[in-house]
């Protein structure tokens, strides 16, 4: 599966994942505390410029953010109709700034770096005995490994429907999809245990 990371060498690319996440959190908090539409407007423009500096291109930007921007536009419109123009503008600027900043972080941080951060963030949970940090990386790997096969299986089930002259229906596709996929769980789990992958170090 292709990630949303885009290779590059700019300032944001060189900044550590942790720093970016912290800054994003701080910026989000600030954006929610600020009420002035003017300041929010400046924030939105600044976020826009930051995002633009990544040179992702119009097409990619549209592909990534179209649903989000449509949602933001809908909400702003709603606010315009039911509240006031000032509030609508504030909402629009705030949400847009957030979307752009978050997208900038996503585009400049690799999956590997993110996984390192998630694993690090899970360490306190590990102390509480809720989760093993190493299991997170393993689970992520497992999901990514089997998506293509499950996709193929879905296609095969659809094809089998068509071959029998049946219209593919959600229910008659998902039931075999689930059963055939989950049936592999025992062997996969045995293979993992046989290789002692989750053994304590």
């Amino acid at each position: 599966m292709k990630t949303l990371y885009m290779d590059g060498s700019g300032f944001l690319h060189r900044l550590s994942a942790r720093a970016k996440l912290v800054l994003l959190a701080v910026a989000s908090l600030a954006l929610f505390l600020i009420q002035s539409p003017l300041v929010l407007g400046v924030g939105a423009v600044a976020s826009g410029l930051l995002f633009a500096s990544l040179r992702i291109g119009w097409r990619q930007t549209w592909l990534r953010l179209r649903v989000l921007f449509l949602t933001i536009a809908a909400v702003a419109l709603f606010t315009l109709v039911f509240n006031s123009p000032v509030e609508a503008v504030s909402v629009f600027f705030r949400l847009s700034a957030l979307a752009l900043l978050a997208s900038a972080v996503t585009a400049t941080t690799t999956t590997g770096d993110f996984i390192t951060e998630v694993t690090f963030a899970a360490l306190p949970l590990e102390k509480l005995g809720l989760v093993k940090a190493a299991d997170i990386g393993l689970s992520i790997g497992l999901v990514l490994r089997f998506i293509p096969e499950i996709l193929l299986r879905h296609q095969a089930i659809r094809d089998a429907h068509i071959a029998r002259g049946l219209r593919p229906r959600t229910l008659s596709i998902i039931v075999p999809l689930i059963i055939l996929t989950l049936k592999n769980a025992d062997e996969i789990a045995s293979a993992i245990d046989a290789r002692a992958i989750r053994a304590q170090k």
């Binding site: 599966m1 990630t3 949303l4 989000s28 592909l63 990534r64 953010l65 649903v67 989000l68 949602t71 933001i72 809908a74 909400v75 709603f78 606010t79 039911f82 509240n83 909402v91 949400l95 957030l98 979307a99 978050a102 997208s103 996503t106 585009a107 941080t109 690799t110 999956t111 993110f114 998630v118 299991d135 689970s139 992520i140 497992l142 999901v143 990514l144 998506i147 499950i150 996709l151 879905h154 593919p168 229906r169 959600t170 229910l171 998902i174 039931v175 999809l177 689930i178 059963i179 996929t181 989950l182 049936k183 592999n184 769980a185 025992d186 996969i188 789990a189 993992i192 245990d193 989750r198």
Partner: protein, 187 residues
């Protein structure tokens, strides 16, 4: 957590993601193609139960957060967690949890098919609609300042589709329990 449970959750997370990747199929008589991904969340609950179902959903969200386009429409990245509709993603976690929990306590392998179906439907409805929309609407109301009533009105149109998904989830839950039961959870 037993390895088998981890694998089941991971495989189901992959199923939820695939449901967001495949072209939407007509859902019953509704003429609009609706993505099956939120159906996947309810399915996680009825098939895997609360713990494994919730982990499956969490895995999907983590994958989205780390920059993979796993949400329907090729969406992903941190931006989806800073959107007005983020409440629905948070709601997914609790939807799977509630649907899973109710499935575990209400549905038994020895029940008649009809009873199983009704119980699964209640579980899917409570989790996948009531809890999900409760959280989604609340989040929308707070983040945008539009208030509960307007947030609710804005979300109303999507509810019938999700109620239909709850029916499908119930039927699927029953069929999977007949073919490859994973509930009650093996020790």
């Amino acid at each position: 957590m037993p390895t088998r449970d981890l694998v089941l959750a991971a495989l189901f997370a992959a199923i939820i993601i695939v449901l967001g990747l495949v072209p939407p199929v007509m859902l019953g008589f509704i003429p609009v193609p609706i993505t099956a991904q939120s159906l996947g969340v309810m399915l996680a609950g009825v098939v895997l139960g609360a713990k494994r179902g919730t982990i499956a959903v969490l895995l999907v969200l983590v994958l989205a957060a780390i920059g993979l386009p796993v949400l329907s429409g090729g969406r992903g990245g941190l931006a989806v967690f800073m959107a007005p509709t983020t409440g629905y993603l948070i709601g997914w976690v609790f939807a799977a949890m509630v649907t899973g929990y109710l499935s575990q306590i209400m549905v038994g392998r020895d029940q008649a098919g009809l009873v199983q179906g009704v119980n699964f439907f209640i579980a899917a409805l409570m989790g996948g609609v009531i809890v999900l929309y409760g959280i989604g609407i609340t989040y929308l109301a707070l983040i945008t300042g539009m208030g509960f009533v307007k947030a609710f009105l804005g979300s109303l149109a999507f509810i019938p589709g999700d109620v239909l998904k709850a029916v499908i989830a119930a039927l699927a839950g029953r069929a999977v329990m007949a073919g490859y039961p994973l509930l009650p959870q093996r020790a």
